[in-house]
Symmetry: none
Subunit: 220 residues, 2 copies
DNA sequence: CTTCCTATGACAGGTTCTCGACAGCTTTGA
DNA sequence: TCAAAGCTGTCGAGAACCTGTCATAGGAAG
């Protein structure tokens, strides 16, 4: 789990950082708003711990921009004790939680655990093959960054080949799998789908090999 | 949005209830643990505000049982005891947030908004997509600077698509979400709303893509 | 060279989606 | 209280797209 800590007070940043490291997190620390902005634009984190009180920069601004750019990480903000307004604003701007300074590191850990637990289970597993990214949960495929629209049958075929990558899959297996067992599919139809899929994947370096008399296989 | 308030102090319960009602929430109040247990078993809520300090009943127990029975609502706990332990325990038992008494109603409102937003998957109250600005808190949309009046169904549809931007949302999910689970909506009706929403958003560069056989998705 | 398997264009259904028309319902405003 | 305006959802015609058969051509194996 990657965590970004945005905190200008070096001593505090250090304490937070080591507490989180003890939890087996990968922690990055930045000390000012500009840096925070930059790193949030270019890298992905699971959680951001941010002090709202940064010198020469408004933490709320960073948060707002981060969310508007589609940032998805959980955000835990740190505020001084008596700034109710900041906390309220922070939550309204898309923070997930806050902690009032001074706080106990044990409590920080509990909050981080709660936030990360909440986040897990959101990401769907993706399979990357060369230029192709295949997401079976979201049922999306993209090729060289561009989303690729596949008709249902072709999507199922690709899914089957990927799940058995490196092994030969017989035409009969493909037919059964595509036809959902509720009807028959001729071997020729399978050949046709292979042909169509190959054409679509031609731009990426994906190779569906023919194994004469046996079937097809997707090379890894 | 349905909210359950579990609070034995009538005056406080009243204050909370009216604050939430002002936010256009449907609020139910119960005053003791047994009642809370019962209603949580039989009805669904989006959020539960629960005092841990109930006469003759441990709020943490209720919370624990609720989660064990698969309760999915966001839970905000209220605690007078300022012991770190209770708060940490509460979070570890599946509470989503806590507030220490005494608290400010403004802050309660912010927390409730944040929790409900979290539940819907939306992070920032103002989401900018091309020429469109979507404000989930104020429940307003504007397009190219002009406010855009959307009928309720279309607004809900847009909210759903935005909260799942980049993912396919099935017609069934849309139907369930729009119909609020209390009645059925035909797939055809969903198609119609998509059509209407597309027409309204045509001027902005918003693209609702059709994924044949699966549903729709809003491109990022 | 012959035979069988595979590749692919063309095409004819079939399915799914789009959206105008319309009628019932709800809200608004006087 | 009633009328007007607007929202909601059904129907259905037509468009768009998917699917699988046929037919033909290309290649591999013996």
């Amino acid at each position: 789990m990657r965590i970004l800590v945005v905190e200008d007070n070096a001593a505090l940043a250090d304490g937070i950082s080591s507490a989180l490291t003890r939890m087996e997190m990968a922690v990055d620390v930045v000390g000012d708003g500009t840096e925070a902005d930059n790193i949030l634009r270019t890298q992905e984190f699971n959680l951001v711990v941010m002090d709202l009180n940064l010198p020469g920069y408004d933490g709320l601004e960073i948060l707002k921009r981060y969310r508007q750019n589609g940032g998805k990480a959980q955000v835990l903000i740190l505020t001084a004790r008596d700034t109710l307004n900041d906390r309220v604003k922070g939550l309204d701007l898309g923070a997930d939680d806050y902690l009032t300074k001074p706080f106990d590191l044990v409590e920080l850990e509990a909050r981080v655990r709660a936030l990360l637990r909440r986040q897990s289970g959101l990401k769907s597993p993706e399979i990357v093959i060369g230029e192709l990214i295949f997401d079976s949960v979201a049922r999306r495929v993209s090729m060289m960054g561009e989303p690729l629209d596949l008709p249902r049958r072709e999507f199922c075929l690709l899914e089957l080949l990927i799940s058995r990558a490196g092994q030969v899959v017989s035409k009969e297996q493909i037919a059964d799998s595509l036809a959902n067992f509720d009807q028959d599919m001729s071997p020729n139809a399978v050949e046709l789908y292979i042909s169509r899929l190959r054409k679509r994947l031609a731009a990426a370096d994906i190779n569906i090999k023919t194994v004469r008399g046996l079937g097809y296989l997707l090379e890894k």
